[in-house]
C-alpha cells in the first residue's frame, strides 16, 4: 500500500485536514505542537488505497525540538510515496520555508494552502500557479474547516500519487537542507513573484479583541472570570441533567430490573443490582457533565484564547520556574491529566518538563470533578455547593503553585519561551459537539474497565465472608477499613470512605462507583442522603481534599513514568502528592474540629 505523510506547521489546521480526509478523529488544538503521537489511517485516494500518516506539527526541518527530530527520523527511516504539506495561506510569508525545504529533499509533494478563506481578510493575495512553478509541485488552496476546495485537492493528491510507483526515502537529510541565507534568498524571490502582502495589516477583530483580553490590568481578571463562568455553566446545566438521569436509572432498577431478577439468589441479585448496576450507573449519570465540560473546553482551546492565557500567566509562571506553556498544559489537565502530561513534549529543557509534569497531576480533572459534584450536592445546600466546588479549584491551583515553588530549585530551567498567538477563530458547532462526544465516549470506555473491576471488588469485599452483614466491621472491607484508621482516622476518613479511597488509586471513577456500592444499602433512601446521613460536612470536605491531591490515577502514574523515563521520578511524584494530601486534610480536619465544627 502507498504511504502518504502529512507535514505542516503548528496552527495550520493540519489535524482538521487529517480528520476530514481520513474520517478519523485526531484531536485538533489551536495550540502549537498538540499532535504528538503519530496517527495513521487508510484512505481511498482515486483508485487505490493509501496509508495516510499524520506527522507532528513542526516549524522547521532543521529545528531542535523533539517533534522536529521525530519528523527527520521518520523521513530518513520510512519509505513514502508522497508528502502532503499543509500551510496557513495567510502566513505564507514565513511558512513557505517548510515547502522550500521539502522541495530540496526531492520527495514527491503536494502543497495545500489551508485557511484560504482567511488570507484575503489579511489582505494576502497568492498566485497559486506561480508558487507551484517555484516549488515544482502542485499547489491547491483549501479550507479544511469548511471543506472548500477539498475535492479538487483530493483529485490532485490522487493524481500525483498515481504517478509515483516506488517509495522514496531521504538519505542524509541534513546534507540536503539549505543554509539559512540560501533559504532566505529563495523565499524572497518566491514571495516577490507570487505573493502580495500588505505593508501593514488591517485592524481586524483579533487585534480589537486582544486589546480587551490581553489588557494589562483587566486581561487576567477577565480570563479568570471566563474560567469561573465555564465551571458555573457546567454546574448549572449539568447537575439538573445528572439528577434527572440518575432518577431514570433508579426507576429502571426498581421497576424493571428488580422484578426481572427476583428469581436469582439474594447474593447474585445484590451483586448485579447493588454492585455492578449502581456502581456503573452512578458514574454513567455524570456523562452529561463531562460532555458539557469538554464542549466548553473545545471553545477555549480552539478559539486561540488558551494561547493568550499563556501570555497573561507567563510572568507569574516564570517566578515559579515554569512558563506559559506549563500553565496551558495544567489547564488541559482539568480535562484529563494524561494528555496534558504528554503535551509537555513541546518543551526541550528537561528541568522545565519534569517540573511541569510534577505540577499537572494537581489539576482537578473531570473524573475528580464527578466525585466532587456528587459529594458537594449530597452534603451542602444548593447555594453553598458551587462555592465549595470552586474552593476545590482554588486548592488545586494552590497545590500546583506550592509544588512548583518548592521544587523549582531541583529542576532548573533556562529554556527560551517563544509562542505563536494565532488569530481568534470560532470552532464550528459540529466540531465542538463531535469533540466533546469523542472525549466523553473515551471517558466512558476508559472508565468502564476500571469501574467494573473496582465496584466488583468493593462489592465483594463488602459482602464476604459469605453471610456477614454487608459492609459491617466483620466484612473484608470493614477489616481493611479498620486497618487504615491509625493513618486515615486523624483526617476524618472513616473505614467505608477509606475503602473507596484505596480503590480510587486505580481511577477516580471508582471512588464514585465505590461510594454508590458502599452506601447503596441504606433502606428506602437515595444514595446522596445515605451519604449525608453517615458523615458530616467536615469529613466530606477532608475526603475531597484528599481525593483532589493524592495520585490522580494509575494511568497518570504510568504516563509520568513513561514520559520522564524514570521510575524514581514517578515514585517521587506519587509520594509527594500522597504526603501533601494527608497533610492538607489533616490540617483542615483537625482545625475544623478544634474550632468546634
Amino acid at each position: 500500500m502507498k504511504q502518504v505523510a502529512v507535514l505542516g506547521m503548528p496552527n495550520t489546521g493540519k489535524s482538521t485536514f487529517f480528520n476530514r480526509i481520513t474520517g478519523a478523529n485526531a484531536h485538533i488544538g489551536n495550540w502549537p505542537g498538540i499532535t504528538v503521537d503519530l496517527m495513521l489511517a487508510k484512505v481511498k485516494l482515486g483508485k487505490e488505497e493509501a496509508e495516510v500518516i499524520d506527522l507532528p506539527g513542526i516549524y522547521d526541518l532543521r529545528g531542535f525540538s523533539e517533534d522536529e527530530a521525530v519528523v527527520r527520523r521518520f523521513l530518513e527511516k520510512t519509505p513514502i510515496h508522497l508528502v502532503l504539506i499543509i500551510l496557513n495561506a495567510s502566513q505564507i510569508d514565513r511558512q513557505i520555508s517548510l515547502a522550500l525545504q521539502v522541495k530540496h529533499l526531492h520527495i514527491p509533494a503536494v502543497l495545500l494552502l489551508n485557511m484560504a478563506d482567511e488570507a484575503p481578510k489579511f489582505g494576502v493575495a497568492i498566485e497559486v500557479e506561480k508558487v507551484s512553478q517555484h516549488l515544482g509541485m502542485p499547489v491547491l488552496p483549501i479550507s479544511a474547516k469548511y471543506g472548500h476546495g477539498y475535492e479538487a485537492a483530493k483529485d490532485a493528491i490522487a493524481h500525483t500519487l498515481s504517478l509515483q510507483a516506488e517509495p522514496v526515502m531521504v538519505s542524509s537529510l541534513e546534507d540536503l537542507l539549505m543554509s539559512d541565507s540560501q533559504l532566505t534568498a529563495e523565499m524572497k524571490s518566491l514571495l516577490h513573484d507570487a505573493v502580495h502582502t500588505p505593508e501593514q495589516i488591517k485592524v481586524n477583530w483579533t487585534t480589537r479583541l486582544d486589546r480587551v483580553l490581553l489588557h494589562p490590568v483587566f486581561g487576567l481578571p477577565i480570563f479568570l472570570a471566563t474560567m469561573f463562568l465555564v465551571f458555573q455553566a457546567v454546574y448549572a446545566i449539568g447537575v439538573p441533567v445528572q439528577k434527572w438521569l440518575q432518577a431514570v436509572l433508579d426507576w429502571f432498577k426498581a421497576d424493571a430490573l428488580t422484578p426481572l431478577l427476583s428469581g436469582l439468589p439474594e447474593f447474585f441479585r445484590g451483586f448485579l443490582l447493588d454492585g455492578i448496576y449502581d456502581g456503573f450507573g452512578t458514574v454513567a449519570s455524570f456523562v452529561p457533565i463531562i460532555l458539557l465540560f469538554f464542549f466548553f473546553m473545545a471553545i477555549v482551546e480552539d478559539s486561540g484564547y488558551m494561547s493568550r492565557s499563556a501570555f497573561l500567566m507567563d510572568a507569574f509562571m516564570e517566578k515559579l520556574g515554569l512558563d506559559g506553556r506549563s500553565f496551558v498544559m495544567s489547564l488541559m489537565g482539568f480535562g484529563c491529566n494524561v494528555p496534558a502530561i504528554m503535551g509537555t513534549r513541546v518543551m526541550r529543557s528537561p528541568g522545565l518538563r519534569l517540573l511541569s509534569m510534577l505540577v499537572i497531576p494537581f489539576s482537578l480533572c473531570s473524573a475528580r470533578l464527578n466525585v466532587f459534584i456528587f459529594m458537594t450536592t449530597a452534603m451542602f445546600t444548593p447555594r453553598t455547593a458551587p462555592v465549595v466546588l470552586f474552593s476545590l479549584y482554588i486548592l488545586s491551583f494552590a497545590a500546583a503553585i506550592l509544588t512548583a515553588a518548592l521544587f523549582k530549585g531541583k529542576f532548573p530551567n533556562k529554556e527560551p519561551f517563544v509562542l505563536e498567538l494565532p488569530p481568534y477563530r470560532f470552532p464550528t458547532l459540529k466540531h465542538m459537539v463531535k469533540y466533546s462526544w469523542m472525549q466523553s465516549r473515551k471517558f466512558l470506555l476508559w472508565s468502564r474497565r476500571f469501574i467494573i473491576f473496582g465496584v466488583v471488588m468493593i462489592w465483594l469485599l463488602n459482602n464476604l465472608p459469605y453471610g456477614v452483614p454487608p459492609a459491617s466491621s466483620q466484612s473484608f472491607s470493614g477489616i481493611i477499613g479498620q486497618a487504615t484508621q491509625p493513618i486515615l482516622g486523624p483526617i476524618g476518613i472513616n473505614p467505608q470512605l477509606a475503602v473507596a479511597l484505596i480503590f480510587g488509586f486505580v481511577a477516580k471513577e471508582i471512588v464514585l462507583g465505590g461510594l454508590a456500592v458502599i452506601y447503596g444499602k441504606a433502606e428506602g433512601a437515595d444514595l446522596m442522603s445515605a451519604v449525608a446521613h453517615q458523615i458530616d460536612w467536615v469529613q466530606a470536605y477532608s475526603f475531597m481534599i484528599f481525593t483532589l491531591l493524592y495520585v490522580p490515577c494509575l494511568s497518570t502514574v504510568a504516563v509520568l513514568k513513561s514520559e520522564s523515563k524514570s521510575a524514581k521520578f514517578a515514585a517521587m511524584s506519587v509520594a509527594w502528592s500522597v504526603g501533601l494530601a494527608w497533610v492538607a486534610s489533616f490540617i483542615f480536619y483537625q482545625s475544623a474540629r478544634a474550632l468546634g465544627f
Partner: protein, 83 residues
C-alpha cells in the same frame, strides 16, 4: 551607533530586524516564525510585571520573553499609529 534590540520598542513602534544573536535552537525557531534579517517587526504590547512582549511580523503574531526579545537586534525604528 549603539545596538538596539526588540525589547526596547514601545507599543506601536516598528523596526527592521538586523540580526539574531541567539543560541542555535532558538535561532531556528525564530527564523521559522518569520524573524529574518530585513523583515519588519512591530511591537503590539508589553506584558505586565516585565512579562512577555507581543509582536507582529508579517501576518504572524508572536509572544516572547523580554530576555529573548533582547537578543533580536533592530534598526530603523519608526513610530506608527497604535495597532
Amino acid at each position: 551607533m549603539a545596538k538596539i534590540h526588540l525589547a526596547s520598542l514601545v507599543p506601536g513602534q516598528a523596526a527592521t530586524i538586523s540580526e539574531l544573536d541567539t543560541e542555535p535552537g532558538l535561532h531556528q525557531r525564530l527564523l521559522a516564525l518569520g524573524f529574518r534579517a530585513g523583515r519588519q517587526v512591530m511591537m503590539i504590547r508589553c506584558g505586565w510585571m516585565s512579562g512577555p512582549v507581543h509582536v507582529r511580523i508579517g501576518t504572524t503574531e508572536v509572544m516572547l520573553r523580554r530576555r529573548e526579545a533582547q537578543s533580536i537586534e533592530i534598526v530603523n525604528v519608526m513610530s506608527q499609529q497604535a495597532a
